[in-house]
Every structure is written in C-alpha cells, then in structure tokens.
Symmetry: C2
Subunit: 356 residues, 2 copies
C-alpha cells in the first residue's frame, strides 16, 4: 500500500468523472476513458495511491500529449489457441489491452478450465490486482503480472536489471471478502519511494540502495539507485520469472531495455508486456464447496494466536477492502502539492479540478 | 539449497540403484520405484539434499512399512477439461501422481497452449523443480507447487497456519542452461533446518522463531516453533496463495490440517495436494526467437556490475546445475550419521547399502 492519510479529500465518483473528462479531452474515446478512469479510481479507493488517479492521470495525460502513448486504442489478436492468445496493443493505454486480455482469459478459462493470455507493445496498466479481480465476478481465480523499468539488481550485482515486476492473484471466498494479493517483487514498490520523495519522508532502512549498491534512506538517492528485492535471491528469482513471462515471451521490452514508462520518458513508447491467467474453480470442485473451504481458511487464519501488540490478523487484500469502504465515504485524499498540480493541469485543459 | 559438502561419497548411479531396490523391497512396482528413485537422486545431484535419497528414501520406506503410504500406485482422473484435470492419487507415493499429472499437463498445453493440472490425496513429491523441469524437454515453460504441514504464521500471528509451500518455475533458454527457480515461501526450507539439527549447526538469525514467536538460532527449538516467511507479509501472501491452489482447490489438506508428511507421522495418510502448469512457448513466439531472447537476458544479467567481493552473478538454477556436474563425478555426499542409519536400514531389508 502506498496510501496517504491526509490532505484534501475529493469524492470518488466526482474524481472519476473528472479523470474520464480529462482523458476524453486529450483524444481518448468516451468508453475507453471510462475504463481507464475506473481502474485508476479503484486503486485510489483501495488505498493504492501509487497506481491511482492521484499519480497516474497526470502521467497518462502528459504521455498522450507528448505523442508517445496512443489515445486511440487498437487491440489486435496476433496469435490464438484454445487457452491462449497474444494481443498486440499497438501502444494503446495499458488498461485497454489489459481489460481486453482479461476478458479473453475469462472466456477461454470458462471453456477449457484454464487460460493464459499475454499483451505486447502496451503501456502501464495500473494496479495488477484490478485485472486479477476481474475474474472474481465470474467465480474464477485470476492472475496478472507485468514487467517494468529496471530498478532491482540480481543477487551479487549492483546494477539494475529488473523492474519491480508486480503480480496479483485474486480468489473468490464465498460470503467472505475475496483473497487479493498484489505485490511488487521488490521489498517496496517504486511508486512508494516516489510518494515518499514528494512528501520528503525518510525511507525505512533496507528498502533501497544508492547507485553503487550502498544502503540509503534518502528517497531522492534511492530513485537514482536500486530497490532491494524481497527475500534476497528469492525476490531476484521471482522478478526474473515475471520478466520472462511478461517481457521475453510476449516480445516486449525486458531486463534493462526500458526507456521508462511514466512521465520521465516523453520520447519513446514504453513497449511493456503483461500476462493474464484464470482458473475455472468448477473444473476442480463445486464452487459451493470451494467457497466453504475458503471461508473456513479465512476464519482459521484470523483466529490464529496473535503476536504481542497485534489487534487482528488480516487476510491478503483485507486492508485494501477496508480502506475502500472508508474512502467511498470520505473521498480520495490528495497531498497539497499534487492537488496544486492537478488544479493547474485541469485549468490548462479546460476541465476544472473538482472542489474539495 | 540444503547441500552438505563433506562426509562419505556414494556414486550417484549406484545410489540410485540401491534406492530403487529398497523401494521394490517394500512393495513398489519396478517401474514406479525407478521413477521415485530418479526424482530423489536428481535432487541429490543438484545439491538439494533435503529432498534427496539421503533424507527421503528412509522416510518413504518407513511410511510404506507403517502402512500409511500406499506402495501400489493408483492414479485416477476424476475431473477433466481441455486444459485441466484433477487426479486422485489414492495415497500413492507423491512422485507417481506428480509425474502422471505433469505428463497430462504437457500433453494438454501442447494442444491448447496452456494447461493446469492438480493432484489430490497424494504424498510428498520430492523437489518441485523436478516436475517443472519435465516441461523443458518438450520446449515448454513448466510450473509446480505443493503445500505442506504448517510451520509459518500469518503476519501478526504467532501460530503456524501455512507450510513452506514451495513452488518452481522452469524455462528453456536455448544453448544456455535452463532457468530453474525452486523456492520455499519461508526464508529457508524446513528440510534445511532438519539438516542443521542433524549436524548440530546453529541457524542464521532471522530464519526461525520458537513456539511463542521469539527469534531463535537453535535448530531443535525452531523445529518445534515457526519459520520466518520471506519478505514478511509478502511471503505470508504467497504461502496462502499456494495453499489455496494446492490444498483448498484440490480437496486436499490445507492450513493447519496436516498430520505430518514425513517420518514424524506414521499413523495417518498425508493427503497433500499439488498443482502443475505448462505454457507452450510456440503459442506466443517462435521458439528460436524465444531462445535467443533468453540467451541475451542471461548474458546481460551475468554481465551486470558486481557488488564488492562478488566473483560472478548466477542465473536461477545455475548453482544447482554446476553442483550436478560436480556430483556426477564425485558422487553424493552422506553425513556420517545418515550413512550409519542407511547401512542399518539396508541390512534390515536385505539390500546392502553400497560401499563408498
């Protein structure tokens, strides 16, 4: 989570409408703009502001204005089998390829029991959880992962070779809330370092290194240096595996070959790849039985003996679920400097940023 | 890796023959015994002694003799779709269900592009990497994971709720060695703690906790306590995800409901589940191009600037590959106490343990 807890609060539905209008203003079709805005807003609601309107709307607008990301989507299936597909996204906004890919995945998994679909020549697609969670309303288990610009060194190295390369898994759990795991293979997401930098907050020790591989707690230094992988060589291995699936297998950028996917690169297409998978629960077990087993597992995990000082044990995705319920009431918090930036951006495009 | 570097060395092919003969002696069919012995021997060759003949042969023999694991295999497909299957293993030795499942996975992925097959009511299946690597000879990407008796607490808890729940991914890399990642979701595998205990070696700080959740470096205390997850809540999340796929979805044991899968449980079937997946590279890219991209990625990772004191950067699976080449020459090392135990076990069954 990269949530911020203070600042100016904007009601979420009003913020979503503004984000959509901004995207339409730079040439995105109405329906497409709605899809992108909804994905960003969902991240904000869940407290994942690193992937929300608060950070990404401005980035997407700048990249479209600079001509390095295509506002008009073109999604083409270039290879297809019963349980797989490869979709060339022709530099469309990442969310549009991701949504199309996950729809295909769900459709195929419904027929064959499991499916694995990939996108290529795409862009930043928001939070991985959003795409994995698309499977939930169909009663399927969903998965997604994506690679990203290099910021993590292999074990023994002091040079960036892999991105944060996040992945997400979503599983329905009957009457309980769903299981949703969305994690970067670094100890913390790069977007979190960016938020700390904007807020001038010191990093926790062990999160990052400077460019020579020496530990640092300065977010500005870390942004020019390296992020620590989670679990040492294990995080390196998972980041590499995500890079193979999302980058190498799809024909997209991999390893250190990224020109940057956010506002720091206004010159070249990102050419990022993503993968999407789904498993049809009914191919293994009646969904009623599966739901009962998930509810039991959740109850048993929450009922574990607690470490000293711990009030409750959360299931993966439970904190984000709770934040989403709160923020649907309170609105989405904007740190003052982002609020100011967005007021100016809205003025420039003639779409006034909503009042708090 | 849980390798031991000293002790008595036994030539690998002779050790494999002995392991096979021992299994036949307790009622395993000739071909089945060969499959199980080969899986264990491969782990020893790769330096993963925690999953090798050195540790598991004795365990399997004891469990078969006690009547809690079935020496005669019975593998039944109980659900099947174009890209999925569920195999009831009826308490057969884990390797036999795993091999059958991975064969089905490979066959299905060849037709539909991707497949996901599960086993239920099975037993310990050796190292996950062995099953993922079965995909390599068919030019596919392979995956396997399995759950295990609880030894890891959820974040905030001090009570075991998940096993080490390992998973493995294997990817062909053209003329280079394959990418093979095989990792427990704990910081270290439980088998490694067992080896340290047998050798009276102190654990590294941060690996384990005692039963109340307080850090310990005593392997005996750790075996009655908890293992630390890798990357904190991320390791907890991955262990939970593996448990959902391998245990909950397959109708096998999950969470804390394991009676034990090794020699500590000679009373009840283990009832463990496993999952196996494969992706057909040719459904996304010509294999020649894929291989070239993998070779390039490996060269670039190995060529990264090195941290101070580091001689070389290894790709995932490279250390195990190197050890396998060495051990094919030197033989498999046995610590003296295991050597003594196996001489006695061989004498008792009338299959003399090979001379060093």
């Amino acid at each position: 989570m990269g949530g911020v807890d203070s600042g100016i609060f904007i009601r979420h539905n009003i913020l979503g409408e503004w984000a959509k209008a901004m995207l339409v203003k730079v040439g995105v079709a109405d329906a497409d703009a709605g899809i992108v805005a909804d994905s960003l807003l969902a991240a904000n609601l869940r407290g994942v502001d690193t992937h929300g309107v608060t950070r990404m709307l401005g980035v997407y607008v700048k990249r479209i204005e600079a001509g390095v990301m295509n506002p008009v989507s073109r999604l083409e299936i270039v290879r297809e089998k019963a349980s797989t597909a490869l979709i060339d996204c022709h530099n469309s906004i990442g969310q549009l390829g991701a949504r199309f890919a996950m729809q295909k995945t769900i459709e195929k998994a419904g027929k064959t029991g499991a499916a694995f679909v990939a996108t290529t020549h795409s862009n930043h697609y928001g939070a991985a959880a959003y795409w994995a969670m698309m499977a939930l309303e169909h009663g399927l288990i969903g998965f997604s992962s994506v690679n990203a610009p290099a910021t993590l060194a292999p074990t023994g190295g002091c040079q960036a070779a892999f991105g944060t390369n996040p992945f997400a898994i979503a599983v329905p759990a009957g009457k309980d809330i769903p299981f949703v795991l969305d994690m970067a293979t670094t100890l913390v997401a790069r977007g979190r370092i960016v938020l700390y930098a904007k807020q001038n907050k010191e990093l926790q020790p062990g999160w990052a290194f400077d460019a020579r591989g020496i530990p640092t707690t300065d977010p500005q230094v870390a942004l020019k240096g390296l992020l620590a992988p989670m679990g040492g060589y294990k995080g390196y291995g998972i980041a590499f595996a995500v890079d193979i699936l999302s980058g190498i297998l799809t024909g997209s950028n991999f390893g250190k070959h990224f020109p940057g996917m956010l506002a720091e690169n206004l010159e070249k297409p990102t050419d990022v790849g993503g993968v999407f998978a789904a498993i049809n629960i009914e191919s293994f077990m009646e969904s009623g039985e599966f739901n009962a087993r998930m509810e039991q597992a959740f109850a048993e995990v929450r009922g574990c003996a607690k470490a000293e000082g711990v009030e409750r044990i959360y299931t993966p995705g439970e904190i984000e679920y709770t934040v989403a319920k709160e923020r649907a009431q309170t609105g989405i918090p904007f740190p003052p400097e982002i609020h100011k930036e967005y007021i100016e951006l809205g003025q420039r495009l003639g779409v006034p940023f909503p009042e708090a």
